[in-house]
């Protein structure tokens, strides 16, 4: 059954690239409803005069010396690939998906 939260979960699941079966959509719709209401208090506490903090350390532009090192071996990097060929990852069709 279509409900606002169920539709919202379906929309977000598509953005997040996760296939959900109908039972999961139902359960997550209920969960999201409860959790979002529980965490909504943040918008009441956060007044416009408070700056946002995205990170505990005030770091910016962190650089290190540009030292050449031995990179990860290509065959080792590819060893865990679901599919590899000629030293490259093989992935499913990425162009013309909407066709």
């Amino acid at each position: 059954m279509s409900t606002p939260w169920r539709d919202e979960v379906a929309r977000v699941a598509a953005l997040a690239r996760i296939d959900l079966v109908p039972e999961e959509l139902d359960r997550l719709a209920g969960d999201l409803d409860v959790i979002v209401h529980a965490v909504a208090e943040v918008s009441r506490i956060a007044t416009p005069d408070v700056p946002a903090t995205s990170h505990p350390l005030p770091l910016s532009n962190v650089f290190r010396d540009d030292v050449p090192v031995t990179p990860l071996d290509r065959d080792e990097a590819l060893a865990a690939a679901p599919e590899a060929e000629a030293g490259m990852f093989v992935v499913p069709q990425i162009l013309g998906e909407d066709a």
Binding site: V21, V34, V42, T53
Partner: protein
């Protein structure tokens, strides 16, 4: 007593006696040549074989690798080489720590069978110091949970009562240490995942200062909150391990450049029992309603011990801590939903093709993630994606970041008055398996007292003041 008798009394013996020694005592016995690393490592492997079918702390046991390391440490010691003080003391690693040549799943089916081609920086340090790695410990899938019930490979049991949770997400590491399967273990703490398992298993867990331990090679969940740290049975052991894994790492752009302080020395000074001049703040907001009476009783006993040792104990109000949980459950899922985008079935891990329709990259990604992720991970990705999506970003994620500022300000104001803050680690003792697994909000509330520390980036430790509850402190 004759000298020979005294040697007989104190000399660690193979088997049960050996596994009950602290890491510091094992290190001393190894250094003194009273026992070999092979004996110590084999004793722990025997223990794992005996009790882990019931506890299920381990997802993978690397017996041969551990014994190889032990043998090489023993040879180096015989040759008179200069070794790290912990050389030969075995250790367990949470399965979120990338370990070359060993299965690393982070408790998720989406990484089943993945053998990493590189080591996390903390693993490099552990291997260089000669600690035999016993194996990889169980955890809630991708570190999302407070009970290990969300592991893709079955839950861990609390060794003190097998019907109860060992905490989470690092329940495997805490249970391994509590069950004498390992003297030391590595955990990771994003909202309490080292400290809460420590609290409910009667062990010590430390969440180091953000940036003080490298995050390179930890499978990232919430990058602005994640931090690896030690699990141990004593504060001194935790300090030894913390000292080993800490320090600047050029491979982690958020790594602090400060040198690692003398944590072992600090642990020893603390153990001397004189806390004169230490100002301790009891957080008003962490201790009232919702906390079990037994937890509060043990906590107050701990405060009396601090006072008796010379500390000045005062109450400190941190008004925004009450909103830390709400902010965390927006910031954490938001960051996780982004970090977990890499599990897409393209370069490593599980790949699932859709059962019908065209097999395109996008549809393979959705099918892979739909099948590979468990319920809690999906719940948090959905929540995080929702909080970041157009129209909701300012109200949820943006507001949560502002609450984070307010929590940091509470800490800063408190540290004007006191040196450390204390509270119970968890509102309750270990709950029964199954009790909260279908009620996400109840599970999230478990982390109410541990989360403020992660939001602010300050360090926190959980110590068992009077089993089975724990007391937590945070400091600058």
């Amino acid at each position: 007593m004759a000298a020979d008798d005294r040697t007989a009394d104190t000399r660690p013996r193979a088997g049960d006696d050996l596994i009950r020694l602290s890491a510091a005592d094992l290190a001393q016995a190894l250094t003194g040549g009273e026992v070999s690393s092979v004996e110590v490592t084999q004793a722990h492997l025997d223990r794992i074989e005996a009790v882990d079918p019931a506890v299920h702390a381990f997802l993978h046991v690397s017996a041969e690798d551990a014994l190889d390391t032990a043998r090489s440490v023993d040879r180096a010691r015989s040759a008179g080489e200069d070794l790290h003080p912990l050389a030969g003391v075995p250790i367990a690693l949470k399965d979120i720590v990338v370990t070359r040549g060993q299965p690393t799943t982070a408790g998720s089916r989406i990484l089943e069978g993945w053998i990493p081609p590189y080591d996390a920086t903390i693993v490099t340090k552990i291997k260089a110091a000669g600690l035999p790695v016993l194996g990889k410990t169980n955890m809630d899938e991708l570190a999302m949970g407070s009970s290990t019930e969300h592991s893709g490979y079955g839950n861990t049991h609390n060794p003190w009562d097998l019907d109860r949770i060992p905490g989470g997400s690092g329940g495997g590491s805490a249970a391994a240490v509590a069950a004498f399967e390992a003297p030391l273990a590595i955990g990771t703490d994003t909202g309490g995942s080292i400290r809460q398992p420590g609290a409910v298993t009667g062990t010590v867990g430390v969440k180091p200062t953000y940036g003080s331990v490298s995050r390179y090679g930890l499978i990232a969940m919430a990058s602005s909150l994640d931090q690896a740290g030690p699990a141990a049975r004593t504060v001194l052991d935790a300090a030894w391990l913390h000292q080993l894994i800490g320090g600047h790492d050029p491979l982690d752009s958020t790594s602090l450049t400060d040198p690692v302080p003398d944590l072992v020395g600090a642990a020893r000074r603390g153990a001397a029992g004189d806390l004169t001049g230490l100002r301790v703040g009891v957080v008003t907001q962490l201790g009232g309603e919702g906390y079990q009476q037994g937890v509060l009783d043990r906590f107050h006993e701990a405060l009396e011990m601090l006072t008796a040792a010379g500390a000045e104990v005062v109450e400190v109000s941190c008004p925004h801590f009450e909103h830390a949980l709400a902010a965390y459950y927006l910031i954490h899922p938001a960051e996780a939903s982004s970090n977990l985008a890499k599990f897409d079935g393209m370069r490593f891990g599980l790949r699932v093709e859709p059962t019908e329709g065209p097999v395109t990259a996008e549809r393979v990604m959705a099918a892979t993630r739909g099948q590979g992720f468990g319920a809690e991970v999906k719940r948090r990705i959905i929540l995080g994606t929702y909080a970041l999506s157009t129209g909701y970003y300012d109200a949820y994620y943006g507001s949560a970041q502002k609450v984070r500022t307010l929590v940091q300000r509470d800490f800063a104001a408190a540290f004007e008055r006191v040196d450390v803050l204390v509270s119970p680690t968890v509102p309750t003792t270990a709950f029964r398996l199954g009790e909260k697994v279908d009620d996400p909000l109840a599970m999230y509330l478990t982390d109410v007292a541990t989360i403020p520390v992660n939001l602010a980036g300050v360090p926190g430790i959980s110590v068992p003041p009077g089993w089975p509850t724990a007391c937590r402190s945070a400091s600058r």
